[in-house]
Amino acid sequence: MAESRWQRADGRFQRVLLILGAVVLVAMITSVSYGEYAIAPLDVIKTLLGIETANPGDAFAIRTLRLPRTLVAFLAGVGLAMAGTLTQGITRNPLAAPSIIGVNAGASLAAVTVLVLLPNVPFSVLPFAAFGGALGVSLLIYLFAWQGGSSPLRLVLVGVGFSLIGGAFTSVIVTLGEINLASQALVWLAGSVYGRTWEQVIALFPWIAICGVLALCWVRELNVLHLGDDTARGLGSLVEGQRGFLLLLAVALAGASVATAGTIGFVGLMAPHLSRQLVGSTYQAILPTAALMGGAIVVLADLIGRLLFAPIELPCGIITAIIGAPYFLYLLIRDRER
């Protein structure tokens, strides 16, 4: 029965995925064409395909400066959205995003510590530090939420607690740090893809690709977990093991994204919900849709942040927060009416 519903939704799912893919592509090309000086979208496409354009400077601006930034925005969006989908499924709470339950706070704390206290460390270390921070905090959350089993409710509350602690320590490190490093850390904390280079794209890509594919392979378990612990056990699922593994994937995805692009808030909250509205309630459909949706959101937020008060740039994290907070409100109200 579930099989037939899945198949019926299939056509719609593919259409949504196709449209989203197109949106992402258009957004990325627009994002690359806009900057210090505008490059016609057609020239952008030509350059990316390796065809010479009238202005030889275009190739440098696009390949070296603009494309890596846009790619980082996309990858970070994908990572955060997938992490959000996983955490929402694991905690069975539609409002539990990585930024709210402490995973991002752990990643931020570790990354800010490295940025401010060890400024000479190469950039490729950051994802590992952030992953370590996110993992450490997640393990602590899991451990402290454990009471003869991990209840989703306690996971959320304990997560909020750790989020506050991480935030407090992060602001102390920003306070004590040397002013230039501290203000770099501040821009980074707000969630920004400013000045990202290929180095960061190459550091981020494997994390998102490997963990993303693993998450897609394990997505069936998420559906089972979502039915509730007792039902899941009844269906023969090793609840704690599956939950632990999926949480680990969420941590890796969020940690790597936060390490590269800072704490871009509310993406992990928005993307899964929008996807659920578009493609229904099976996680097989939600997870890939959310991934593309998250990528599109961050690329667009970055573009808006550059357009809004040009020439001053607002970090994309501010834009996602401004869009995400009212959406959060809407979700709460809609939840009540159900």
């Binding site: 959320v156 304990v158 909020v160 607690g161 506050l164 602690i165 407090a168 203000s183 969630g191």
Partner: protein
């Protein structure tokens, strides 16, 4: 999950009146000792006699100047900010019947901090008494929003809904605050020490500018002890006893906004004091808010005085913001509460 009452059952936790008065007296003495300790110890230690002389026979020496312009103001600010946050936390826990309610967790500190950062960005070089109105505005709007948001969720104002609404608001406001600081780097350097929660370098004039609001906040809070005790039995009971629940809630909210807003204006968003203190107090005093509130005021003062003293002594002669110490105390407590008080 149902709404969670924060009170222990009536009777077993409530102590007799004389012992409660005696406890209050002992608390006041302990507070005084902490105040003295906070004045004596620091980057350089000062003898008790010098403090006494600085107050009675001021001779303009370096020590006397340090005492009068740095140490004493800082100690008094720690005392008052600690008291204000603790009383605000107690009021919030009584009002929402939620054991996790406190100005830090429900986003009220973040709201006040955001409003002040915005105000310093828009209007530079004004007196603190100007900015404090923005703190009240930010705290008030956040309190209302989080309360409404929390009640809108499935199941109403559960601890989970309220906490998530608070966390979401904190995340949102923190983003906006960072945005303003990025656009205006000059503000950032001026404000970053304050933003982590710190009592360093505050002088008496700052305290005096905020003192009237703090006093009104405290008086309101203490006057609300009895109605709050009734309210904590449940809204229906309170209504049945002829209490105007709306008025009590409104005045309590006003008091919370005045207390938390003033605290943030002077010392930045210091977390966890408002969460920890009411629980400790309730453990010793019972569930009667007429006693909880004054005890919370004293215990909050003691806690922040000690935390601030710790922040000065750990890395002597340099110091940590006190915002680093309170999470160390508060975090285990929060987790204990989430584990034991929420089902």
């Amino acid at each position: 999950m149902t709404r969670q009452s924060v009170q222990t059952s009536r009777g077993d936790g409530t102590r007799s009146r004389p012992s409660l008065w005696m406890g209050l007296g002992i608390g006041a003495i302990a507070l005084l000792l902490c105040l003295v300790a906070s004045t004596i110890y620091g980057a350089t230690d000062i003898s008790l006699r010098e403090v006494y002389e600085a107050l009675t026979a001021f001779d303009g020496s370096t020590e006397h100047l340090i005492i009068q312009t740095i140490r004493l103001p800082r100690s008094f600010i720690a005392l008052l900010v600690g008291s204000a946050l603790a009383v605000a936390g107690a009021l919030m826990q009584g009002l929402t019947r939620n054991p996790l309610a406190s100005p830090g967790i429900l986003g009220i500190n973040a709201g006040a901090a955001f409003a002040i950062v915005t105000a310093t960005f828009l209007f530079s070089d004004r007196a603190l008494s100007f900015y404090v109105w923005f703190a009240f505005l930010g705290a008030g709007l956040t309190a209302i929003s989080v309360y409404l948001l929390g009640s809108l969720g499935r199941g109403g104002l559960t601890p989970l809904n309220l906490t998530i609404a608070g966390a979401a608001f904190t995340a949102f406001l923190a983003s906006l605050t960072q945005g303003i600081l990025i656009v205006n780097q000059r503000t950032f350097d001026d404000i970053r020490f304050w933003l982590a929660g710190s009592l360093a370098g505050r002088d008496l004039t700052l305290l005096l500018q905020v003192l009237p609001y703090l006093c009104v906040g405290f008086l309101l809070a203490f006057a609300l002890g009895k109605p709050l005790a009734t309210l904590s039995l449940g809204e229906d009971v309170a209504k049945g006893l002829g209490q105007s629940v709306v008025w009590v809630k409104g005045l309590a909210a006003l008091s919370i906004v005045l207390l938390a807003g003033s605290s943030v204006a002077i010392a930045g968003p210091i977390g966890f004091i408002g969460l920890i203190v009411p629980h400790i107090v309730r453990f010793g005093v019972g569930s009667d808010y007429r006693w909880i509130l004054p005890y919370a005021a004293i215990a909050g003062g003691i806690l922040l005085l000690l935390a601030d003293l710790g922040s000065r002594l750990v890395l002597r002669p340099s110091e940590l913001p006190v915002g680093f110490i309170t999470p160390l105390l508060g975090a285990p407590f929060f987790i204990y509460l989430a584990r034991s008080r929420i089902r």
